[in-house]
Symmetry: C2
Subunit: 887 residues, 2 copies
């Protein structure tokens, strides 16, 4: 007959870590630790096969189980010299669920099993702590009643609350022993009333009923649903682990603690932990008493301390990762209750991974996989001191648009922001929404907060580009710029009030919270260099690099330099219109826009040419030897034209034209849905002179920087193509222009297009012949595929995410099912007609880990993201390359 | 050896109509007519195989050709008793191209061949018309020089123009004979200068060079391009037909005419035509002399007239269609030069098709295929009297948004339109763009003209719905409502000025042109009934009807009745929001929109409920026994809220709320891109009470009309679904509501969704389980797939169409490549998981012939269009069913 029960304890176990299928994750790991010689509270595990049999036999235990359990229970009693139900020396156990795949919180557990009316008295006497004993009994009745007999949790809680009310206290711990005794009586009465049975006093009966309850919890509704959602299939059932309870509150020779094999905050290789004498874990959690550092234990009980050090070394070496270890000392004996890979800060994650690789505990690949993109993100931005943020309560929450924390005084206009900043003040720019006019104000602010907009609204996109903390769509913040104040749930905050925003979480705090600056450590550089090695390694079959190339979105020379410092291997998106936002250039650009005819438009363009050329030169210099993808003018022209009468008057004066003419021009440029209007290559087709000027500036810049010895790799990108003819016409026209300045063969350049309109994605086999590369503009593609305007989603998207209508914000993480389907189709259809085509992704998704993984899997060549996200993209691309072949 | 040359003449021909591949279309038809005993000017055709050999031999004539041609030339001379090059009795021929597939104007032709310095003199003497003879010679030199020797057309024209200038005349016909003689001299000099050769005097040399030139024209650039564009492949080449020239200007016993076997204007079975004595066809075309009715010929030469009648009867019976016949009488002998199916008005097309079917000349299927959708469209709308429109010059042109013509006085506001109309004036509403506020004004206007917007702009959609002529996007018309005038190319027209618009062509005329009213004839009813028979016939294999069902888009009971009268088999789209535009309802709807909270929103909805219920009842009554698809609220709420301060004040007063609150509410509803914002089911999800009220109104309406004995087939349609969860949530919620009012099983209703967002089309396999039907909203799907806002395309779409970047306006004709791909994918993916799903198309394309054909081919079940287009859809769906199996 098959073995059904597996014992662990006394230095050896019948199972091990490889037997998860049979013993569940928990049972297998307890066995593993036992075998390592770690003093784990002993016990035994009933296998998952028994659960399967239990269900196969109509929820009855299989023959022979009783004998095996009895035998193991006896082994346990013998080993511990305790006895089930013996008031003088009671064995108390926990009965826990545990499947092969972790399903946290989905199934049931019963603690303190073995308590009854007599045991509680014995325990009370033995520990000299009747509070503890009665509280343990109370908890057991409640847990047993609820889990095993389905007595409602509320009815127990009601009894407890009533007693607290009666005594005029608010905390459980303020109840006296006599209150607890009374509560236990009432609990038993409630149990009787609900079940028609007396609360069982026989520990064996308690045990068998608890085991059956755990088996049944395998098929409770929430567990079934969890397995459906996570697509968990082909499991036999849950194992049941019966394990000795140990208590750290048996006296001064007892205690409880938590320790880490390395510092989870800094990552330094220092043993770190806390210990509390004569206490249970719950006491620490409840915050009643403050634990002391481990040094205290070292002083009090050096032998035990050394034991602990030895165990943590053993466990870290065995599990090859920093361990978070829970331990309890019961009457001078050390027990390890649990070990697991410890949670850590981003800084610690990087340091531990790199250190462990240098210590040859793990290899470089493992080190790369050990740091999550989220941890890396943390390292790259200032954050609110965790000690502070733990206790601070946000006044509101918005969308986490650009990571990092910032504190500053509220200002409502860009002008104010610039003036205050000049005086050395730190400001947070708070607006309903931002516009290109706000660039200057955003630049000098510590952070940006808007009450409207989604993750790809203007504020969000620009802030990410600047690496500035930003929260958007904080709809509970009512911004009234006219009187310079905000109202949050009735509370008003005026200009100058301090605000702290956490762009990583979307939390908004009143006041100035203390921040921790980002640390760009040597270990981080090392880790990213290892990641680059992995990415660039050639796949011997395809001769292509194993991982995606990482470029940056950068529009001005300064950003290009920043991108290089962050390790970008080129520019994947240079938005030429952003060059025009500077004072001085903007006016000429506006002159071009309001031109009455082609001649005056061309006159203005002639003035812009040398300015744009200089920008290109700066970028080419910064990207010496790396590709630069320049996108020709994309946004609707009206974005550059003022709309308030006051601004119109000012501009009319500057341009020496009648106010009325300018007003009517501005009016005529207005569109119902500018997102879907006259922009992108539509501008380039209808006003060919604009793109011609831009290409001329590019060509002239190439000629000039080449004289400086700069190696230029230019790629000209046409935005918003929807039909192949748009590209074929523009390509022909622009190549002609290039040829006028650059003789053929003198320099290689590429001409490609954005794929950002669904129709383009659906017809790439027609477009491919005219393109050297495709760059997926997944922002716009998401807008059009979903029919979501990124500026207007604020009214429903937060609700959709809350209601799980959407699992993820599609502007943050690429929607694989819809948008991803188009991208995938676009690649496979075009590749079928043109093998040499290169594919990039330059939307906001270029810096998102899940989106990077997807793009890798369907055959992308590079991603492009804001300079600040380049390290994250480098790491993610390497991690993905280690896990998946490129598509 | 294969026969190379095919003779026709003297009552029989060596070829016939079936030999198009070998003789080209023209050669085969001339042979066919000859065989019928029709007196065609005799000649011979050199086969397409000779053309193939010509190219195979490096552009040389094959051996034996010369002999065959000489032989046939001799037969011709013998038959006609004329001789090539004989001044006294010259044979003149035309040398024409003609491939198996018609390529109009792509290849070359030479007329009057056989003229030389002597023949011209002979002809001059013989006809007593030296003007004719010298002009014929002049034309021959020019045509031969240009076609055969590539002497530029301009250099000949230059000579002619110079002479006219010299003589101070403007028409060729004002030149005297001596001028023509002089011109011929200069033409020959020009020929010599350009070619280095004398103009050939030998008619045989002329003939061979012309034959070679026609062969060469097979591969001229424009012919090659034409074959590429029209995908014409696998042809051998062009045939060459050498045919006797006949002249109607040899004297009073000569003449020329055109006749129709039935009246091309009314379709009546009456012989109809015109005749001009002693004239060539050119004289008629040039308008120098006015032809007389055929009755004149009947009186002058009854024998010849009877001959002509016999030939037209023969030809109509033979070709089984109304014939347009060109004839010439040369010295008392009747020649038929050409016969072809005659162009006809829509009215005539319908009558001729039905009459011929009744006369059993053709069968019903052929009759259905004989009327084009465009002809039917003509019949259904008033049109400008062709006699008038032929000579009228439009002052501007816009997009032909809604067919039919209208004349009226210009008004600039809906209010004025309503006031003027009350006074019995006919008005044309002229606006920059229209909004829902303009519905009343549009309704009373004869037609609508806007200077902006595309084919699916508000004005266009509403006007089509009303069946009103409409032109949109007339960008050359500058509308200044503030001073109530328009400016067109500098010319101003004020309020009250008359304008005539032709919504079928987009032409705008100044003044009041006379119109012809539409005629809904008995023949039309008959034709449409036959079409319905064809559509509804069951395919024996699939058990499904062979053709698409045709439903109408109708929003109010009145339109539903109209739809039935036009033969709609149900309503495919009832836009519930259109019900709210009525005065009285609009205010309550606005009250609902500006509600501060759910309670006041629900209070307003309670008031709307009975009103909406009554509308539904009216529609159900009108559609007794036919399905009614009701779309729940779709448009952005701000469309219903006033935006001018004045209107806001008025509404605030009506609703008894502070102006400031209303202003700020209106402001908060504004969106950057409302098309992609808070609308459709997003509204239904965020404000569930709105859809619940609508469904309640539907359910209550059902209960009440059923008591009247009405058979209701309701279909509830959820708009703008992008993810399956939106539909699953709403379906559950709305079914619950339905169940509260309609007990289960009491009535069958369907719940379905619009597929109008690309993502929905890409994920139909997920959506299908929650839908009973899909209706493709191809308007929005086109907007999002192309990234075109229908309200903003005016700035580039006309240019794109002009430049052929787009072959068709995608809002008019479904783009098969992109949008169609999505629709097709959506059907095949959903059908794979749910066979029972029904597919409709309710965008503007539902009434467009090409789009109907496509939807039929990919497996659609029904189309829905405005009532006025229902007849066109019925006819087209039947025509398509005759040509193609349903997908």
């Amino acid at each position: 007959m098959t073995k059904m029960v597996y014992f662990f304890g006394g230095g050896k176990a019948e199972g091990n870590a490889s037997m998860k299928d049979l013993l569940g994750g928990k049972g297998a790991n307890l066995a593993e630790m036992t075998n390592l010689g770690i003093p784990v509270p002993p016990g035994f595990t009933i296998s998952t096969e028994v659960c399967e049999l239990y269900y196969a036999h109509g929820q009855r235990f299989p023959d022979g189980l009783q004998e095996e359990v009895e035998l193991n229970l006896h082994r346990l009693e013998t080993l511990l010299e305790k006895k089930f139900g013996n008031p003088d020396n009671p064995l108390l156990v926990s009965v826990r669920s545990g499947a092969a795949v972790s399903m946290p919180g989905m199934m049931d557990t019963v603690l303190n099993l073995g308590m009854n009316d007599k045991v509680v008295e014995g325990l009370s006497a033995k520990t000299g702590n009747p509070r503890f004993a009665w509280d343990a009994y109370r908890r057991f009745i409640q847990m047993f009643g609820n889990v095993v007999k389905h007595v409602s949790h509320d009815s127990f809680e009601h009894i407890l609350e009533k007693k607290k009310l009666e005594k005029g206290v608010s905390l459980d711990t303020q109840l006296e022993v006599k209150d607890l005794i009374r509560i236990v009586e009432e609990y038993k009465k409630e149990f009787r009333n609900s079940t028609g049975e007396e609360f069982p006093q026989d520990p064996k009966q308690q045990l068998w009923e608890a085991i059956a309850a755990v088996f049944r919890s395998w098929n409770n509704e929430r567990a079934i649903r969890y397995r459906q959602i996570h697509n968990i299939k082909n499991l036999k059932g849950t194992a049941v682990t019966v394990q000795t309870m140990v208590f750290g509150n048996f006296g001064l020779d007892s205690g409880t603690g938590v320790c880490f094999s390395r510092d989870p905050s800094t990552g330094k290789k220092e043993f770190y932990g806390e210990y509390l004498m004569n206490a249970q874990g719950e006491d620490v959690v409840a915050g009643i008493r403050t634990p002391e550092p481990l040094d205290a234990l070292k002083r009090q009980n050096p032998e035990l301390y050394n034991q602990l050090v030895a165990f943590k070394d053993l466990l870290e070496a065995h599990y090859k990762d920093m361990q978070d270890i829970e331990f309890t000392v019961e009457k001078g004996k050390l027990y390890i209750l649990q070990t697991r890979s410890g949670k850590r800060t981003g800084t610690a994650a990087v340091k531990i991974a790199v250190d462990m690789a240098k210590e040859t505990i793990i290899d470089k690949k493992t080190a790369i996989l050990r740091v999550t993109p989220e941890q890396l993100d943390q390292v790259l931005h200032p954050m609110i001191d965790p000690k502070v943020s733990k206790n601070a309560k946000p006044i509101a929450k918005g969308l986490n648009a650009s990571p990092g924390a910032a504190a500053g005084q509220i200002v409502f206009t860009s002008e104010d922001a610039e003036n205050w900043a000049k005086e050395g003040k730190k400001v947070i720019l708070v607006r309903k929404e931002t516009s290109p006019d706000d660039i200057g104000g955003m630049y000098v602010s510590e952070g940006v907060l808007t009450s409207t907009g989604g993750l790809t609204s203007h504020a969000a996109v620009v802030a990410r580009g600047m690496g500035k903390p930003c929260i958007v769509g904080a709809k509970d913040i009512l911004v009234d710029s006219s009187v310079k104040k905000i109202t949050v749930y009735g509370k008003e905050l005026a200009e100058g009030a301090w605000l702290t925003i956490d762009g990583s979480t979307g939390n908004i705090f009143e006041g100035q919270l203390s921040l921790i600056p980002p640390i760009l450590s040597e270990e981080l550089q090392t880790l990213l260099n290892w990641a680059d090695e992995i990415r660039k390694e050639k796949d011997p079959h395809t001769e292509r690099p194993k991982g995606l190339q990482v470029r940056a979105n950068a529009d001005i020379p300064e950003d290009a330099e920043k991108a290089r410092r962050f390790g970008a291997e080129g520019i994947g998106l240079c938005r030429t219109e952003h060059m025009f936002f500077d004072k001085g250039k903007l006016e000429i650009f506006q002159e071009m826009i309001v031109a009455e005819n082609k001649e005056s438009r061309q006159a203005a363009l002639r003035k812009l040419l040398p300015l744009q050329k200089e920008d290109f030169k700066g970028i080419f210099r910064a990207m010496n030897g790396f590709p630069v993808t320049i996108r020709l003018l994309d946004p609707p022209l009206h974005e550059f034209v003022p709309h308030s009468l006051e601004d119109i008057k000012a501009l009319a004066e500057t341009l020496h034209i009648p106010v009325e003419r300018l007003r009517s021009k501005a009016e005529s440029l207005k569109e119902m849905n500018p997102m879907l209007g006259m922009r992108g290559c539509r501008l380039g087709i209808v006003y060919p002179e604009i793109y011609e000027m831009q290409v001329e500036a590019i060509a002239l810049a190439i000629v000039e920087v080449r004289k400086e010895g700069i190696h230029v790799l230019p790629e000209i990108m046409i935005p918003l193509v929807g039909t192949y003819k748009e590209l074929s016409i523009l390509r022909e026209q622009l190549e002609k222009k290039m040829l006028q300045i650059l003789p053929p063969g003198q320099i290689e350049y590429k001409i490609g297009t954005m794929i950002e309109i669904p129709r383009a994605a659906l017809t790439t086999e027609e477009i491919a012949p005219y393109a050297d590369f495709f760059s997926f503009g997944t922002n716009d593609l998401t807008q059009m595929t979903f029919g979501y305007s990124r500026d207007d989603v604020g009214s429903f998207l937060p609700y959709y995410l809350e209601q799980k209508i959407l699992e993820e914000d599609p502007f943050k993480t690429l929607d694989r099912k819809g948008v991803g389907q188009l991208v995938s189709l676009a690649i496979s259809n075009s590749r079928a007609v043109k093998k040499s085509l290169k594919y990039g992704m330059c939307g906001e998704h270029g810096g998102d880990p899940s989106s990077i993984e997807f793009f890798h899997s369907i055959g992308g060549d590079y991603v492009s993201c804001s300079p600040f996200r380049v390290p994250i993209a480098r790491l993610t691309a390497a991690q993905v390359a280690l896990r998946l072949p490129r598509g």
